[in-house]
Amino acid sequence: MSGPAFKIGLVEDFGREAMAVSESVGRFTFLVRSSLTWMLRAPIEWRQVLIQMMRIGVESLPVTTMTTFFTGMVLALQTGASSKHFFNEPLFVGTVVSFAMVMELAPVMTALVVSGRAGAAIAAELGTMKVTEQIDALYTLGTDPVRYLVIPRVLAFLMVLPLLTVVADFSGTFGGWVVAYIKLGIPSSVYTSDIFDNMEIRHFMHGFLKTFVFAGIISFISCFKGITTTGGAEGVGKSTTAAVVLSMASVLVIDYFVTAILSAVGIT
């Protein structure tokens, strides 16, 4: 392909992609709006919410707890090593570990792990339902996929992710204590006073409030990717991958802006 034709081809490709992206954004916005409308208009399927809470929350608990436990451990190890290097003794290990865990690492890591586990499962399940016409069947049986499938998952995420994060706050801080006490020889009283002398409720709230935003992002993206699946088994695979990648990337990007907003309003 020669110069001008190649350029036109590029513009066409770019235009097509831009159209596809804007269409997706539009449909995603419509899904969010439709979910909010259904929440106000129809009774919530609480049985489905409970089932999803079990799947998203209880089944994710071991992996989020273990991940954050080891993150707390490594954080303590690194902090101890660095402060030993500069000050000849491990200082403020409890402060660093607990602040890092509570304000950033526990919310973000829990969100990432849960999006990889539960977000992928949601996209795969709804995607399979879409390609096997089960979503169409919902319409013919008098309900709506947003009401029956999306809202319970979004609500379950909103209820469960903050709780998982609180557990992660403790497990991470506890992981840090294990290393601080056993490896670095820091007495428990020093480690805990490092935490409680400095931490206030607003620090905890900073991380805790973020989790609601993350829960919304992951659940809506996973549901959206699931119910817009096309193309059989291959399509389900693509939707699942896209749901996880998009959720994880969005969590990390939006984390910055949420942090900036929370800091601006003094929750930091």
Binding site: M129, Q134, A137, T140, L141, G142, D144
Partner: protein
């Protein structure tokens, strides 16, 4: 009565329905036949409002689905229909009786305490017993179709739409499903559209047969008239011949002739 006029539907770069005109009278079972990809399943989805036509009208008991914009109106319109999906579309996460009674919660005001008993009755109507607590994954293809049929009739619709009810079943099970369709028509006195490419099934269950080809209705007549038709297109389809006016490519791809050298 279902009346479709000039129904057109295109997917990007591919027209599927090019103006379907078809009327299904009260109490009638209309079989819609046609080759794969001719648009018959799309037409059925247009009738129940799962696919919105680009133009034309589909009127059921005086309500034109193409003019309904509010979700609640569309939902109310759909209440009169039972729909049997091609691959049954049973909910994997629910048991058989929960599948059958699923629509009762949304389509009727019956108390949930009666759902299981109703599901059992509907399952008996399609010839199934003691399967209430099984999961769809534990059922054979024929049983899935029957459960899906029980689910479609659970809320006692006025119209039943069958999307390829016998596809993927062995000949005996296909005939069992045909008998069930006939029995249900008698027992429930419903109006039905059966989309199929199984001619044996069409002849058996239909009071009229309509053939769709290239997005239009080529012929709509009684089964005996369709059997004896002289229309070369319909003739070729009902006789199942590869040679005739309907051209089916032996290969979906043909080597492209490239002008002006290789690309």
């Amino acid at each position: 009565m279902i009346e479709a006029r000039g129904v057109q539907k295109s997917y990007p770069g591919r027209p599927v329905l090019r103006g379907v005109d078809l009327a299904v009278q009260e109490g009638e079972t209309m079989a819609v036949i046609g080759g794969s990809g001719c648009g018959k399943s799309t037409f059925l989805k247009c009738v129940i409002g799962l696919v919105r036509p680009d133009s034309g009208s589909i009127t059921v008991d005086g309500t034109d689905i193409t003019r309904l914009t509010r979700e609640a109106d569309v939902a109310a319109y759909r209440r009169r229909f039972g729909y049997l999906f091609q691959e049954a579309a049973l909910f994997d996460s629910l048991s058989v009786w929960e599948n059958v009674s699923f629509g009762l919660r949304y389509l009727t005001s019956l108390p949930p305490s009666r759902f299981r008993a109703i599901a059992k009755d509907k399952l008996a109507l399609v010839g199934l017993k003691d399967v209430e607590d099984l999961r769809p994954s534990e059922l054979s293809g024929g049983m899935k179709k029957r459960v899906a049929l029980a689910r479609a009739i659970a809320a006692e619709p006025s119209y039943i739409l069958y999307d390829e009810p016998t596809t993927g079943l062995d000949p005996i099970m296909s005939d069992v499903i045909n008998d069930l369709i006939l029995d249900l028509q008698k027992a429930l006195n419903t109006t039905a559209i059966v989309v199929t490419h199984d001619m044996k099934s069409a002849y058996k269950v239909a009071s009229r047969i309509a053939m769709i080809h290239e997005g239009r209705v080529l012929a709509a007549d009684r089964p005996e008239a369709i059997k004896a038709t002289k229309d070369p297109y319909v003739r070729q389809f009902v006789d199942g011949l590869s040679q005739g006016p309907i051209k089916m490519k032996l290969k979906e791809f043909e080597p492209e002739t490239v002008e002006g050298g290789a690309r």
